[in-house]
């Protein structure tokens, strides 16, 4: 369902172009769960941004459901991101003017996949029932991260892209997240791509790839 071919990305810096991704190739099937491992600054976030249509690669193609994302216009890309994907950012990216409940329901309502009972289960699993009527500024980093995860999951996407989703979580909540995401993959055939430097999390996913010096390789 997802196919990256010869994707390269570099950024301008004072010392000249900084190559982050160099001819990356990756094929992901429906329902697969992959951990993208790598050190800090290895390009994991950039790779997720390119796949989600938020960042354009310098070269290469990203095909999602047989459509090259970067040939399509912004409106079409936004539509795909809206209806088929969900992105969990490193910095939570919650909407500050909405309550936790409204944040969680936002994506699901936009794509008309609002399922109150499903959301209730997600909220319970992530242990954020008590903060539903609060605003993001009134909650902790861990609670905000779980909210971001709940929002992504509630929209029942085909593909979830998660950038360090358990970075701010304790062990108990990390396990809850892993359990929930695992359930989603199994039951709904949701494809899962997780950027992480936690080997513990990575080992719970079906396969692992390593990003190092701009190159992607299957993990041993």
């Amino acid at each position: 369902m997802l196919c990256l071919k010869n994707v390269s990305k570099s950024f301008d810096s004072a010392e000249g172009p900084l190559e982050v991704l160099n001819n990356v190739n990756l094929t992901v099937s429906q329902g697969e769960s992959i951990a993208i491992l790598g050190e800090s600054g290895s390009g994991k976030s950039t790779l997720l941004h390119i796949i989600s249509g938020l960042e354009k690669p310098n070269t290469g193609s990203v095909e999602f459901d047989n459509e090259d994302l970067w040939v399509l216009g912004e409106a079409s890309r936004a539509k795909i991101r809206r209806e088929k994907m969900a992105v969990i950012f490193q910095q939570f990216n919650l909407v500050p003017s909405l309550t936790i409940r409204e944040n969680i329901e936002l994506h699901a309502k936009i794509v008309k996949k609002f399922d109150p009972s499903f959301i209730k289960d997600v909220v319970r699993l992530l242990r954020i029932e008590d903060i539903m009527e609060k605003y993001p500024e009134q909650t902790s980093g861990g609670q905000q991260q779980r909210t971001a995860i709940a929002r992504a999951v509630s929209a029942k996407p085909t593909l979830i892209l998660a950038d360090e989703p358990t970075g701010n979580l304790d062990e108990l909540n990390t396990q809850s997240v892993i359990q929930m995401l695992g359930k989603l993959v199994t039951q709904s055939k949701t494809t899962l791509l997780v950027a992480t430097h936690s080997n513990s999390f990575a080992s719970r996913l079906k396969s692992q790839v390593m990003l190092s010096k701009g190159k992607l390789s299957r993990n041993v």
Partner: protein, 815 residues
């Protein structure tokens, strides 16, 4: 080493502006505009005050009572010595025009005044008199002519060979010299135009009668400065308003700059720089910015004042008889005071931020701004302050007296309304949010708008002030215009108005017109102070013309009948309010011989725009008590179709005589022109204030755009298009402006009420009816929406064109 210790952190602080040049530009724009608007008004007021004090000189060298020829022409100077021998304390005077003198590129008549310096300044205190106008100047120098710089320059071109002395205290268009020199220049031989009384009045006026002379009361003691006080206070109020609105921009931007530099400031504190040092560096930065803006403001204010001055001059010259020309003079001290205004404004705007810097803890965590908490806290403070101001409003309403009190009432109303605006917006949007919208984006739109209130409140407050003032002043001006035009129609009913140069011509005109026209109505007047109020006493015939049209506000049921029976008089609204007199009260004044007179007030009429009190006496009574006043002016009633014929007849019959014929439409046109010019200044300042509010809105939007990117990035990440988000930004700004307009409208109507019932009443002693002009409100709303659109367009365009990396970066580093 020590210097580097201060210079390095200072440079680090200043580097912020290199990254955010737009913020710096906006601070400079705000401060420059505020300074310029205030200074331009100050310049105009100063120029006017200078003109008044120059004009005051003319009344200082005149006297209260003066003797003129009955026929209005010159008379023999032998009467001077004759009357002196009879005990009259008099001084001779001659006045006349020197024709075709070019001043400022236009041809004018310079009025040459010839006096006898010794007797003119008898019984006068010369302590406050300018040196160059004292009698010694005339006695020491021979053939001296004194005048203003431009007048003397123009006179020199006329090839007059005299000892010209320039005085900066003498009004332009006039020149002063010894009487013998004036008689020579004016080719007047042994003639005089008047004899001024420098002492008490002898009881018998028969000495004058026998010589064909009459006594006249001068109104030269009119104090222009106090007459025009309200006009200048009005200008000052506008200047202050514009200054405050301009400072809103400065406040918003400086506050944001502080928030964005919190990191560097905390770092400096961590490195060992004390709070005093860091705060001092910031103060120095504010000082530098304000000095730059101050200099720019001075230059801009000069051009602004130069643009507004011609209209001010027309108003003051036309309404109050001032002698303001269109030139501007700038003293060096003005430059320093202007810089002071800029520094003061910048200090006030940056004071809250500087206090925060002083108390900033280096170990304070860099958590995101708790917007809701901050908003609610701000709303509480604003509400409390608004309540305190409302108490002061009630106080001024009940106990206030005087013009200053009226302006304070107006000011308090505007400020408390401004403070209540964010609360109104908060409550309005909360009410809207109670509705469960099906589309989550719509819900988010209103929730987000509610959150934005705090960030945009400063610029929206500026917008509110500008809108309320525009509605208020616009409503007042249009009410005035509607009333004024109707009133002019009532006052200027006669088809023609004629002014004869002397009694002989006047008599001939009357004979010429008898049997040709429907009525010849004389208009005569004298000036007098009635209980310290500068007033004019008119003599008129209570003709049906006046009965049918005169704008009486209060009247005795038989007013016109009683006027015809010479049983009373009518007064204008100004005199009625100043002396607290109304119908059936008695009013006292003096005859030309000083005899006390008392008559019943039969009616009070409206007299808009007149700074003086006015009294209208039936002509028979006027003639009895002011017999020496010649009948030189007439209002003529005739069918309209006969006007050209009559004008032509008069012109041919009196071709070489200087008679002035004006018809009704000409006078109405001149009056309306002065009216329009009077309010063009306030209209211009109102619109400028609205423009400044627009800049404030632009400033807030532009300055907050980085923060907005981080707040909008989550929605973009979910899949809402950038164009949609950009469009929603503009719609949000329009919606908030619209809500602000809705709140501003009743405030503006409040301003109309306060202006017409308090400010104008205190200033002018006449009251206007209030009319409502919905079309004006609609056009103001349209203007506001266009201005809002333009103010936020740049931000929306930037957002729609923002690259993904900009949005991603914003989402990662949420400030």
């Amino acid at each position: 080493m020590c210097d580097k210790l201060i210079l390095l952190p200072f440079l680090a602080i200043l580097k912020h502006w290199k990254r955010r040049p737009l913020q710096l530009i906006l601070i400079l724009v705000g401060l420059t505009t505020a300074t310029a608007l205030w200074n331009s008004v100050h310049l105009i007021n100063n120029e006017a005050q200078k003109a008044y004090s120059d004009a005051q000189i003319l009344s200082e060298i005149s006297n209260e009572k003066t003797i003129l020829a009955k026929n209005g022409l010159y008379f023999e100077d032998k009467y001077f010595s004759e009357l002196r021998r009879l005990g009259w304390p008099i001084t001779p005077r001659i006045e006349g025009p020197i024709n075709n003198v070019k001043i400022n590129g236009s041809e004018l008549d310079v009025v040459l005044i010839g006096i006898d310096p010794l007797s003119t300044f008898q019984n006068k205190s010369l302590d406050t008199f300018p040196q160059d106008l004292r009698p010694e100047k005339f006695l020491r120098g021979s053939r001296v002519i004194v005048g203003g710089p431009k007048t003397i320059k123009a006179l020199k071109v006329k090839e007059l060979v005299y000892n010209f002395v320039i005085s900066n205290h003498f009004p332009e268009g006039f020149a002063l010299t010894d009487i013998s020199i004036a008689q020579k220049i004016l080719n007047a031989g042994n003639k005089l135009t008047s004899l001024d009384l420098v002492g008490g009045l002898p009881s018998e006026l028969s000495d004058l009668e026998a010589r064909g002379l009459r006594l006249k009361q001068n109104d030269n003691d009119v104090d222009l400065s106090s007459l025009t006080k309200s006009f200048h206070l009005n200008l000052t109020a506008f200047g202050l308003l514009s200054y405050i609105v301009g400072l809103f921009i400065v406040y918003a931007t400086i506050n944001l700059a502080f928030e964005q530099r919190k990191g560097i400031l905390k770092s400096l504190r961590s490195l060992g720089f004390s709070a005093v040092t860091v705060t001092s560096l910031m103060i120095v930065e504010v000082l530098i910015i304000s000095l730059i803006a101050g200099n720019l403001g001075v230059i801009l204010s000069y051009f602004l004042a130069a643009a507004l001055l011609p209209d001010v001059a027309i108003t003051l010259n036309g309404l109050f008889g001032a002698n303001l020309d269109n030139g501007l003079s700038v003293e060096p001290s003005f430059w320093f005071s202007s810089l002071g205004i800029s520094v003061f404004g910048a200090s006030c705007s940056s004071a809250p931020s500087l206090i925060k810097i002083g108390t900033l803890s280096p170990i304070e965590s860099s958590k995101k701004i708790a917007l809701y908490k901050k908003t609610k806290s701000n709303l509480k403070y604003q509400f409390a302050t608004a309540i305190a101001l409302m108490i002061s409003i009630i106080y001024f309403f009940k106990f206030g007296d005087g013009l200053i009190s009226a302006f304070l009432l107006l000011g308090s109303t505007l400020i408390s309304a401004t403070l209540l605006l964010p609360i109104f917006l908060w409550l309005s949007i909360s009410l809207i949010l109670k509705y469960k919208f099906k589309n989550p984006l719509v819900h988010w739109f209103f929730a987000d708008s509610k959150q934005q209130i705090n960030s945009l409140s400063v610029s929206l407050m500026a917008l509110l002030i500008a809108l309320a003032v525009n509605v208020g002043v616009g409503g007042m001006v249009e009410s005035f215009r509607k009333t004024f035009i109707g009133w002019l129609d009532q006052r200027l009913v006669s088809e023609l108005y004629i002014l004869a140069p002397d009694i002989e011509i006047a008599k001939k005109i009357e004979i010429n017109l008898t049997n040709k026209v429907s009525a010849i109505l004389p208009i005569v007047k004298v000036s007098q102070k009635i209980f310290d109020t500068s007033s004019e006493i008119f003599g008129f015939v209570p003709h049906s013309t006046y009965q049918e049209h005169w704008p009486l506000l209060e009247e005795n049921t038989k007013v016109w009948e009683m006027l015809r029976q010479e049983k009373g008089l009518i007064i204008n609204e100004q005199l009625s309010r100043r002396l607290k007199l109304s119908v059936s009260d008695m009013i006292e004044f003096q005859s030309s011989t000083g005899k006390k007179l008392s008559f019943e007030i039969l009616g009070v009429y409206s007299d808009y725009g007149n700074p003086k009190g006015q009294l209208m006496l039936p002509y028979g009574l006027f003639k009895r008590y002011f017999p020496d006043v010649p009948k030189l002016r007439f209002a003529i009633r005739l069918p309209k179709e006969m006007i050209p014929q009559i004008r032509s007849d008069l012109k041919s019959a009196f071709s070489k005589k200087k008679i002035i014929i004006t018809d009704q439409t000409e006078i109405k046109s001149i009056s309306t022109k002065i009216f329009d010019k009077t309010f063009s200044i306030t209209r211009a300042l109102s619109l400028l204030t609205l423009g400044v509010a627009g800049v404030a809105l632009f400033t807030s939007t532009a300055a907050l755009s980085d923060n907005r990117n981080s707040q909008l990035a989550p929605l973009w990440a979910i899949g809402v298009q950038q164009n949609t988000l950009a469009a929603l930004e503009t719609i949000r700004a329009l919606a908030l402006s619209m809500l602000t307009f809705i709140f501003a409208l009743p405030i503006g109507l409040c301003v109309v009420f306060l202006l017409t019932n308090y400010v104008n009443l205190e200033a002018f002693d006449w009251k206007l009816p209030i009319y409502y002009f919905p079309y004006q409100w609609l056009s103001l709303l349209l203007l506001t929406l266009i201005m809002t659109f333009l103010s936020t367009a740049l931000h929306s365009i930037k957002l729609s064109r923002a690259s993904p990396s900009e949005l991603l970066k914003a989402s990662l580093y949420d400030t």
